[in-house]
């Protein structure tokens, strides 16, 4: 009797594994979409130990537009891990399945897992039930696919292997670009020799260099590398927005661009006065424009000095003779 029941159980399990494998192969990235019924079929109704683990991504389409949750990004990373795992480990297929769930389709399962905040990823090991499955910490998906893979490796003892990110351009696109370039080069060289390209326009170079200057002094590279938001929402008063962050180690996007603009505008006005305005013959126009330019420059410098003192807290002072005090 016992032998028969184990045999049927293992048949049952094999059947489920092959079902999952076929579901997996049908999905483009290898992520299986589960709902309440299929979750019951593959997890709750199978007696532990199951022959497979499931890594479950909880998704909600209605929250995709909330940028701070980064759901779509994480979902993409999740599918990258999935496809990398499948392509790296063809032999251990059937040990670990990557699945996701949509909130609208499977609200029951969300409540069964006790999930009430997203993003949320859970690993259901072979011996675990719904409640005691392991959630992934915030830190484990902070570094995206790489850290998810580490989490999987540490919990399941299965190795994910190197992450294969899809290249920026597909092969066909690359070929197309190469062909277009090849065709374009002779025309370009011809124009170049004639000296008629955009490259020969100093105004373009001027605009470009001033823009690069503006871009750099505004600390935009800092914002890109650190992925800083343009502004923050005030913690104490959610209706207020914080544009300026106090403390010199960090800056917000809007803040950087504002100060970068102030940095740049003074120089541009000065250059306008010395190069453009002198050529105008009307004295009163010159006078009005100059007063305006000087006022704006003065205010801009004053504002930057004020902001800098406020942000860094440095007390810049002169070293006057002591008898002056």
């Amino acid at each position: 009797m016992v032998a028969v029941s184990t045999a049927t159980a293992s048949d049952d399990e094999d059947e489920r594994v092959s079902e999952l494998l076929s579901l997996q192969s049908r999905s483009k990235s290898g992520v299986i979409r589960l709902n309440d019924q299929s979750l019951a079929r593959y997890i709750t109704s199978v007696k532990p130990p199951r022959p497979y683990s499931i890594l479950l991504f909880f998704d909600a389409a209605q929250l995709h537009d909330k940028a701070e949750l980064r759901l779509t990004e994480l979902r993409n990373e999740f599918s990258i891990v999935a496809s990398s795992f499948i392509s790296n480990n063809p032999s251990s297929g059937g040990k670990l399945f990557f699945c996701d769930m949509e909130f609208k389709e499977s609200q029951l399962s969300f409540s069964q897992f006790g999930v009430n905040a997203l993003p949320h990823i859970r690993l259901i090991g072979p011996n675990m039930g719904l409640k005691d499955s392991q959630p992934m910490d915030q830190g484990d998906f902070s570094r995206l696919a790489e850290s998810m893979a580490e989490f999987v490796e540490s919990k399941t003892k299965l190795s994910v292997g190197p992450i294969h990110r899809p290249p920026l351009f597909s092969r066909n696109q690359l070929i197309l670009i190469a062909v277009v370039l090849l065709f374009w080069i002779p025309f370009f060289v011809k124009k170049l020799l004639a000296g008629q390209t955009l490259l020969h326009d100093p105004k373009l170079w001027l605009a470009g260099s001033v823009f690069v200057y503006f871009f750099s002094v505004s600390g935009a590279m800092h914002n890109i590398i650190r992925k800083m938001p343009m502004f923050l929402v005030d913690r104490n008063d959610p209706s207020k927005l914080v544009f300026f962050y106090q403390g010199s180690g960090m800056q917000l996007g809007a803040e950087g661009f504002a100060v970068g603009f102030l940095y740049t505008v003074v120089g541009l006005l000065l250059a306008f006065m010395t190069h453009g305005l002198v050529r105008i013959s009307n004295v009163s126009v010159q006078r009005v424009v100059m007063i305006f330019a000087l006022l704006v420059s003065f205010l801009a410098v004053k504002q930057v000095v004020y902001l800098d003192n406020w942000k860094t807290g440095y007390g810049i002072h002169g070293f006057w003779p002591s008898s002056w005090n």
């Binding site: 001027l206 690069v212 200057y213 600390g219 120089g267 541009l268 190069h275 050529r279 100059m290 000087l294």
Partner: protein, 785 residues
């Protein structure tokens, strides 16, 4: 008669300008030197920070043992047990410079110590750097002699001798590569522009030699060898090819590359790494272009069109082949032939993702906008005006400066350390902007002042001859016979004239280009105020922000000045109380100082060439005591040194650097997992800390007996009470803690005997002999307790 009067007046003005210019130069040199002495006055004549200690040690070795021994020096006091080939891995420029200075002074019977020479090398070279900046600017804007030149000189020198970001790396005592390298960088650029303006092979050769000096001094030479080809390419693409460009570029590549490969640390890298490939590619292109121009010269226009098709297709084919070879070469190496630091410039997010050891260094962080205000101050406002001034008119030289500022400002945006390269460019451009602004405003005032309106005719003529020389080629030509300028200057001027002729229309029109009187006065006042603010800011930065040697610390409180000299106390203790061959382990930051000041062997130091070795130390620091003891014991370490700021509130201590130890350690040894140390994504040492954190060696060595200081164990850096206050050390013993607890030194306990348990059980005297025998036997085995 009137003409000759005007003539003699102009030449007096000319001479006056020259004399004034000379004195300004001299004073600026003195100023640039003396503003960097705050650290000596406020502290003492001492070498600063970390890297300078290594340079100092190398210089000592050089002066003691001579150049050949220095070249072949294998240092066994560091990276134990690997050692380091110093001669082949160090940029020797700074060391050789200071060594030569010391040797010269000593042969003049001025007995200065090596340390003194090292301390003052940076201020001396910053004076040179400000002079070089002036030369470069003069070459760029081509202002003739006279008062305008003096104004320009004052402005540029003034900004370059003050610019805080350069001060930060060149205060007295900051004996680092950048101190001489910035001078070399600017001087190389100056010679390049000089060659470009004159087309003289003499300057081209000098340029290669200056480049060689730069390669000797700093890894940043790759900036030159990429910027100059970029400029050449730009000139070619925008149709500015000339034989002068060829002379400026081709000898530099050939001679420069040959010379660069003489420096051991560069060697074959000069032809084999991707950083240099751009220069070779442009070298090929400029030859193709030169050939095209040559053929154009010898053929009739019709024939040329036929030949052009031929040459262009052949040239393109060659280029394509070369590009293919280059790409294949590049692709064959794992990092695509680029070093990590260069890659992180091109793809700014590269380092933070893949190389924690580069990302961990604070000067490799991207700066925020206050850094620009701190480091180039009001120059940040003036640079855009300078860019525009360079575009009107655009010459070969001014396009170079524009390219220089654009690339350096981008790079400085990626890494705060490269602010240093931006500084000279910012000085040049704001100097140009300021002198142009002063030119326009003073001219406006001068021509419209009611008191001189009667003489305005003469004045105007003179003013334009004195002030606006570049737009006045006819005048220069006239002056040529009588002027005492050297021939090179003359030929340069001819070049200038040829470049700028289309812009200068007429003298009369120039006179009319004025602004209203009152507003000009206000503008001048505002500009002067801006300059005054710059001086105040820079002096403040030099005195307060950048002059701390970081080896001696001070703090002001209500009861006066406190001096923290714990580092030297600790190093002195090490050198007096330990064996000469003992090995000291610490985090890599303190490696150079330990070897230089305590003269003890270290495991890792600031030359982070071996990631695995550093990861080993990081792993030991983040392991529990026993595992750490085993790691250290396997490295023959006898003492462990930790820096702890919790008592006095010194923020850059080892607990704050701990995340990098875990990250770097975990990168090589996967059993160290960062999440084990994190609570809610943060490193915490209070009661919320994770058990792994509370048991790791770094926590224990830092906080051992800390509770005895105030009874609460309150950490002033983290502003919290620590999580675990009472614990004992099992494998380490405290041997020395400095006055303010900033440096704590521990000794590894000797291996415990396995039999000790047995001794305690059988306390009988008879067994003693037996125990002794057993002890001898077990001594050979590695002991695991």
């Amino acid at each position: 008669m009137a003409a000759s009067d005007a003539h003699s007046g102009a030449s007096i003005r000319h001479a006056f300008g020259n004399v004034l210019g000379f004195f300004i130069l001299l004073l600026i040199g003195v100023l640039a030197f003396s503003i960097r002495l705050f650290s000596v006055i406020k502290y003492e004549s001492v070498i600063h920070e970390f890297d300078p200690y290594f340079n100092y040690r190398v210089t000592q070795f050089l002066t003691k043992n001579g150049i050949y021994d220095f070249w072949n020096w294998f240092d066994d006091r560091t990276w134990y047990p690997l050692g380091r080939v110093i001669g082949g891995t160090v940029y020797p420029g700074l060391t050789l410079t200071a060594g030569t200075l010391w040797w010269m002074l000593n042969s003049l019977n001025i007995p200065l110590s090596v340390e003194t020479v090292c301390v003052f090398t940076a201020p001396i070279f910053s004076a040179f750097a400000s002079w070089a900046t002036y030369l470069l600017t003069k070459e760029v804007k081509g202002t003739g002699a006279g008062l305008t030149a003096a104004v320009l000189l004052a402005m540029v020198n003034f900004s370059s001798s003050f610019v805080p970001s350069y001060i930060s790396r060149s205060v007295a005592g900051s004996y680092d590569n950048e101190a001489v390298a910035i001078f070399a960088l600017i001087f190389t650029f100056y010679l390049y522009i000089k060659t470009l303006n004159t087309g003289s092979l003499f300057y081209a050769t000098l340029n290669s030699i200056a480049y060689f000096y730069m390669v000797c001094s700093w890894g940043g030479y790759t900036f030159i060898i990429n910027l100059i080809p970029m400029h050449v390419l730009l000139c070619i693409v925008t149709g500015r090819y000339s034989s002068r460009l060829y002379i400026a570029y081709a000898p530099l590549v050939v001679l420069g590359t040959l010379l660069a490969s003489l420096v051991p640390v560069v060697g074959f890298n000069a032809v084999m790494t991707s950083e240099h490939f751009a220069s070779f590619l442009v070298f090929i292109i400029i030859h193709v272009v030169a050939l095209v121009y040559y053929i154009k010269g010898i053929l009739s226009p019709k024939m040329f069109k036929v030949a052009l098709a031929l040459v262009v297709s052949a040239g393109l084919a060659v280029c394509c082949a070369m590009v293919a070879v280059l790409i294949a070469l590049v692709a064959s190496s794992p990092t695509k032939g680029w070093s990590g630091r260069s890659l992180s410039l091109l793809d700014p997010t590269y380092a933070s993702k893949y190389i924690p050891i580069i990302a961990s260094v604070s000067e490799h962080q991207p700066p925020t906008w206050p850094s620009y205000f701190m480091d180039i101050n009001v120059l940040a406002f003036l640079v855009p005006a300078g860019i525009i001034a360079c575009f009107s008119p655009l010459s070969d030289a001014s396009s170079f400066v524009v390219l220089y500022i654009v690339t350096s400002v981008y790079f400085s945006g990626v890494m705060v350390r490269l602010m240093l390269v931006l500084a000279p460019a910012a000085c040049i451009l704001s100097g140009i902007a300021l002198s142009q602004a002063f030119d326009v405003f003073t001219r406006s005032i001068k021509l419209q002042l009611p008191s001189v309106s009667g003489q305005s005719n003469v004045d105007a003529g003179e003013a334009s001859s004195g002030n606006v020389v570049p737009n006045d080629p006819v005048k220069t030509d006239k002056n040529e016979d009588t002027s005492k300028e050297r021939t090179s200057k003359k030929s340069k001027k001819k070049e200038k004239e040829h470049v700028e002729k289309p812009v200068s229309k007429s003298q009369i029109k120039k006179r009319l280009l004025v602004l209203p009187l009152e507003t000009s006065i206000i503008a001048i006042i505002l500009l002067v105020l801006l300059g005054a603010f710059y001086v105040v800011h820079s002096v403040w930065a030099a005195a307060e922000a950048y002059s701390a040697p970081s080896i001696v610390l001070t703090s002001h409180s209500h009861d006066g000045l406190h001096v923290f000299d714990d580092f030297r106390e600790a190093y002195a203790w090490l050198s007096h109380n330990t064996e000469i061959d003992d090995k000291v382990a610490s985090w890599w930051d303190y490696g150079y100082q330990t070897t230089a000041m305590a003269n003890r062997t270290v495991i890792v130091d600031n030359n982070t060439w071996n990631n695995t070795h550093i990861a080993t130390v990081g792993t030991a620091m983040s392991s529990p005591e026993k595992a750490a003891w085993e790691i250290f014991h396997s490295l023959d370490v006898k003492y462990v040194l930790v820096v702890f700021g919790g008592l006095v509130g010194y923020p850059s201590d080892d607990i704050n650097k701990f995340l990098w130890m875990v990250r770097i350690g975990g990168g090589v040894f996967p059993h160290i997992k960062e999440p084990d140390y994190l609570r809610d994504g943060q490193y915490r040492i209070d009661s919320m800390a994770t058990p792994t954190m509370l048991n790791c060696l770094m926590y224990k060595l830092s906080y051992y007996r800390f509770v005895e200081t105030d009874g609460k164990a309150f950490d002033r850096v983290r502003r919290t009470e620590i999580g675990k206050k009472y614990f004992k050390l099992t494998h380490f013993e405290e041997v020395f803690t400095t006055h303010h607890w900033m440096v704590r030194i521990y000794k590894l306990k000797p291996p415990k005997n396995r039999i000790r348990g047995k001794i305690k059980k059988s306390k009988s005297v008879q067994n003693k002999l037996e125990n002794k025998l057993e002890k001898k036997r077990t001594k050979k085995e590695p002991l695991l307790v």
